[in-house]
Amino acid sequence: MSATAIKINNLTKTYQEIPAVKNLSFEIKFGAITALLGSNGAGKSTTLDMMAGILKPTSGTIEINGLHYQDHEREIKKNLAYLTSHMNLYDKLTVEESLKFLGGLKGLTNKDLKVRIEELSALFSLSTILKKTFSSLSSGQKQRSLVAASIIHDPQILIFDEVTASLDLVVAKEIMDFLKQEKERGKAIIFSTHIPSEVEYLSDRILLLERGQLVKDTSYQEFMSKTQATNLTDAFYDVLKGLERE
């Protein structure tokens, strides 16, 4: 497996001639967690949508594990997890039905699915809600089910877009711990968030987007040391204000 999980080159996306993402280029490595940061409308979600193969870029290329979406979409998606705060499971299906359905689509056999559902149930405390329909769950239970559903196929690359927004501390911590474990297992993880503590707790590297362009690509420690701020919130504020002045 290539050490580079995702390679993005000159990625551009325009909506009715207005650019949302402009000439973005960077690489994501295995065994590291990368935080994609930026203010609202900076192009984070658009970038992650394109990386996940949901949106088609206007121009530029995306390589996942050395493969291009144009020719290898099925292979890529078999090894990729994508979750955003704007995703749901089907209201009228039970959690177990959803897991089986999504696992089946990813190519898992019934036997593999049974084992995997047991693992995920233990990891995200799903055993009591497996037989419940998605609509009957609390928001925390829903989010745990969604994370489980997104990684049912045990993928090597995880793309999470503001997954912990609006979650209580306990569930958010469970998900963050899970991401750390996955990193230890050598997986490539990229996530976006507006919560500074999450960046501090998780990220090895920070990509800062503004107006669709990459303005910073740095490690967490370097980012903090250069801004000379005492905390991450102040550091972001200083950087973004500096950009506005430019």
């Binding site: 949901i54 990729l80 749901n88 999504l102 689509l105």
Partner: protein
Amino acid sequence: MRIDGTKFLLLLKKEILLVLRDKSVLFANLILPLLLGPLIIILFSDITKLDDLKKQKSQDAPLVITYQGQAESSFIDHLEKTLEMPLSVLENAPSDEEQLQLYLIYEQIAPHLRNRENTIHDLNGTEIDVIDAITQISHAKEKLFTQTKLHLVFVDRADQTKSIIVLYEKSDNDSSRAFKLIDPLLKEYKDNRVNFALSEKMVTMAEIIPLSIETMNLFDKKSLINIIGLIIGIVIVFLLILSTYTPSFGMTIGERDQQTYKTILMNPVTLTEIFLSKFICLTLLGIFSLIPYLIQYLLFSLFIDSALFLINEILSFGGFRFLWFILLLVSINFIVSALTFFFSSFARTQGQAQVFLSTLMLLLIVPVAAGAYLNLELNFLTSFIPVTNFTLSLGNLFSESPAYLSLINVLVTNTILSLLIFRISVSSFSVQWKGSSDSKGLSDLLNFKNRKTLTLVPGHAYMAFALVFLGLLYVRLINDEKVEFLGAIIPSLIMLVVGLFILWYSQLKLRDILRLPSMNQLGFDAVFSFVVALSSALILIFVAKDKLELWGPISFALPIETFLYALITAIAIEFFFRALLYKALRTSYHFLPAAFLCAAATAVTTLSSAQMPWTFAGAIALAFIYEKRGFLSCLFTHFFFKLTLILYSLL
């Protein structure tokens, strides 16, 4: 487009589960049938009684007698006096009746044909041109059977210019009443004619071709069956819309509203697989939604009123026709499902989608009603008219001898059309769900503000082809195969107008789609084609003129019209099918699939089964020429070929 069977089945299972757990679906498929079922049974019951009502009304049915040639006033007077009622006399019989007369003559001369007699004589010694009669009859025969108002016909073959046709109001009873009233009079008239021939013309009995009175009841149960077919068709379309409309929007817009579409898109499945599973689920739902109505109808007709809706006749049709009925049901279900998908692709919310319901109803019910209003019947041409062909097929299926070839045509037409609509809808959803698409969908196509971002894609080409096809069908139906110059170039003009609109709409550069070569590249083949085409025209004008005169005087305009016809047709067809359609298909497909699809489209628009095979082959060759040499070479080749064909047919 590769479909992964396992994943498709998983998607289908999910859709079925969701549909079964939807309360609105349960309401539409279980509660609604209980409410609507009895109403529909009452409706059918009334239709069945329609025949009895007609019998009562027919007591006052007026008699109309038409005749051709010199009227024998004494006979008309005699009829009026005997019947004690005034007769309406139409001096110029409509052409349909003339055709009917020819048909009857044909029926009578058929035995002579079998005896290899090329000519026969009537009682007055006039020669009947058998071949001419047959030519006219074979042309008129199909149209003849579209008439339902003719019931009883008498033809005095002894003098074919004095045929008498009696017209009545529609119904079996009218016909039998007419027969009882007028039959003795007609027999008497026949005897008079024979006696006249024997005494005045000095013809011997051996020379008289036996005269007979022909009674034809074209109406019998067919009209009732047609009405039932029509009503069943409308009811079925209505019920299908009721049962599939809401679930369709739940499956499409609902995925976006409930934010589940990204969950699905994150899997190794294609949009086609996702939407095909929804499409098939909707079709199955449509079929199963009719079962409660069918059960109610069967229970009622078996245990309460066995006369309801000709149950015995329907049951006597047997399993094979029932299988056909199911196939036709599936085909109309495909169209209803595809159209609900099509409408979903416009709406932003489910609420917005509900607004389209009335439009969808109109889109489906109007063609059905129009078919009935125009008194159409299922034949090769009408089987191409989508939706309308469904009710026509039902009428045909319940008749004594169904036209199975036309029924197959209906299935193929409806299936292709639904797949076309489905494909366009998937393109639209691709734009909505994924932000862009390999082929632009209707959302973009109909959004004038975004026109500048468009390029020519199959979505446009499909739409253009559908428009042209319907236009040609319409022209063909109203023109009735007239080959006047203007009538002949109308289809080409339709193609040109639609093609130019697409060109303008897509903001394409003419240079790009025509693939115009430089003069050097154009070279030998274009000049050669032009010279040969011109030579053909000259041959037509100077050499063929004498031979054409064998037919009658040749007009000065004919060579010019022929030249223009070949040129305009070639320009229109090559511009539309090669420069637009083939070029658009090439954006998504390799040469062979694009050439095959384009050739199939070209062949279908000929609307003639005899022309389709060679048109298909020719179109493949032209696609190859377009690929290698560009538009002008195609144009010259087509023009040359068309002119040669005309020349050949004239000589």
